[in-house]
């Protein structure tokens, strides 16, 4: 092979390498494009429920203590869901609270007017900010109404109650459960 032939074949080899490199780089660029283009996000409809406890503070033997539904210490359930969706709610309330070890029990009662329900979602979790025009005032917690999420997508339930310690109620710490069940009625 003469000198010109060697130069030609070297040039041809370099050209092939350059073309292959260029194609590889182009593929990488394309792959990067695809990777960026394929970034996806999936939106799932969600139902959120949060709760703040009903606080009675210190209670004295023989002295009933009531927390009203518009008191800052009232229990709070906040439900957030899809605007326009119907929601069914059911509350299970205790008849008594028990001392650790269940050696004594204290009666707790919830009347048919112990509940405020803000269907406009404007109370922002504050029982004292509830206005009757924004939902159901003094409603029955034993039979909550079926309602719809309006444009604010938020419902808040404010719960009051009364504990009734006896004159010989054992001193100590009492606990009980309040259970709220929430279900969409349109799914």
């Amino acid at each position: 092979m003469n000198k010109t032939g060697i130069v030609k074949s070297t040039f041809r080899f370099a050209l092939i390498v350059a073309v292959v490199l260029a194609m590889t780089m182009a593929q990488n660029v394309a792959a990067q494009d695809v990777a960026v283009g394929s970034a996806t996000a999936t939106v799932l409809a969600a139902l959120t429920v949060t709760a703040g406890t009903l606080v009675f503070g210190s209670v004295y033997q023989g002295v009933p203590k009531a927390i009203t539904n518009d008191n800052a210490d009232a229990g709070v359930f906040s439900i957030t869901g899809a605007a326009g969706a119907g929601v069914s709610m059911y509350m299970q309330l205790p008849d008594y609270v028990s001392i650790t070890g269940d050696s004594d029990r204290m009666v707790i009662s919830f009347s048919a007017t112990d509940c405020n329900i803000d269907t406009a979602g404007v109370s922002s979790g504050d029982p004292t900010a509830f206005l009757a025009a924004n939902g159901y005032a003094d409603d029955n917690p034993h039979n909550l109404p079926t309602t719809n999420f309006d444009a604010a997508s938020s419902i808040e339930i404010f719960l009051g109650g009364t504990v009734l310690p006896t004159i010989d109620q054992t001193a100590g710490a009492y606990t009980g459960d309040i259970i709220l069940t929430v279900a969409y009625d349109g799914t």
Binding site: T42, V43, L44, A45, A46, L47, V49, T50, A51, G52, T53, L54, F56, S58, V59, Y60, Q61, G75, V76, F77, S78, T80, A82, G84, A85, G86, S88, Y90, V97, T100, M106, I108, G121, S124, G125, D126, T146, A152, S153, S154, E156, V163, Q169, A171, G172, A173, Y174, T175, G176, D177, I178, I179, L180, T181, V182, A183, Y184, D185, G186, T187
Partner: protein, 290 residues
């Protein structure tokens, strides 16, 4: 299981999501939280071709929550006044369309850390020769504060009380076996009014083998064809359902009689991906209210 996707157009969906997130954050900040849970999606679809599913459980609070997954059965049921309730049963369910006995969740009990997330996987093991149709169960996500503080009495004769706030979120699970169809019939419409509200009660019967999912809307026009009121809600009819729509109005402000337009359609659901929708018939009715 495939995840559902938003059907809301771009900017609107973005705004809606941002508004929803801000709303949740605002409520969480301003509420004295002791427990909380976010569950998504709000309905899970499984089938003879895809017997697995999943739900996401998030803890939106700054304390750990204990989450327990179980199953129940409960369909939307209505009373004579059109009020709809979902009553959950967890035992002695005899409904032939119940999937309660053959769906399982993993894990069934988990501690979700503050602001953490847990995926719960679902598996269906339907019996052999299951007749064609849709089968139902409710996924019950029970959550309460994970580290329960044992209260202490403040004084020697003192009595203190702590109430554990427990939340149960009931999510619908639908298992579809074979070809699905939903065929809705409106069997009766009642209208009434008092000095504050207009009421429309619609009786419906589903003749299909799958639940009819859609929306019911109602528009009231006066004698001059001016709009008096508008209402609508998501709809799920499994067998029979009587649904009430209430609309506020001001008596004397509009010319009677009122024309009530009722529309029921499978379109318009933004919470369920189209691939999971069983599109049924559309119904349009007009009735008059004196």
């Amino acid at each position: 299981m495939k995840r559902s996707e938003s059907l809301i157009p771009g900017n609107q969906a973005g705004f809606g999501r941002r508004f929803f997130c801000l709303l949740v954050v605002f409520i969480l900040i301003s509420t004295k939280l002791s427990a909380g849970v976010l569950v998504a999606p709000t309905v899970v679809f499984m089938s003879d071709k895809n017997r697995t599913g999943r739900i996401n459980v998030q803890n939106p609070t700054d304390k750990p929550i204990e989450v327990t997954i179980s199953f129940g059965f409960g369909l939307p049921e209505s009373d004579s006044l059109g009020n709809v309730k979902v009553v959950i049963e967890d035992s002695n369910v005899v409904d032939p369309r119940s999937a309660l006995d053959w769906v399982r969740a993993f894990p069934r009990k988990v501690l979700v850390p503050p602001n953490g997330e847990q995926v719960v996987r679902l598996v269906a093991r339907p019996p052999q020769n299951l007749p064609e149709g849709e089968y139902w169960a409710r996924i019950i996500v029970r959550s309460q504060q994970g580290q329960t503080t044992i209260p202490t009495a403040g004084e020697s004769d003192g009595i203190t009380t702590t109430l554990n706030m427990i939340i149960k979120t009931a999510i619908m699970l639908k298992f579809r076996n074979g070809q699905m169809n939903a065929e809705l019939e409106v069997t009766n419409i009642q209208t009434s009014r008092d000095d504050k509200k207009l009421r429309v009660i619609v009786d419906m019967a589903n003749h299909g083998n799958a639940s009819y999912l859609g929306r019911i809307s109602c528009r009231v026009l006066d004698a001059d064809k001016k709009q008096v009121a508008l209402a609508g809600t998501d709809l799920a009819v499994y067998r029979n359902l009587k649904r009430k729509l209430e609309m506020p109005y001001v008596p004397g402000e509009h010319l009677m009689p009122f024309e009530v337009e009722i529309k029921i359609t499978s379109e318009g659901r933004t919470d369920i991906a189209r691939e999971f929708m069983v599109f049924g018939n559309e119904i349009n009715r007009v009735v008059y209210l004196d």
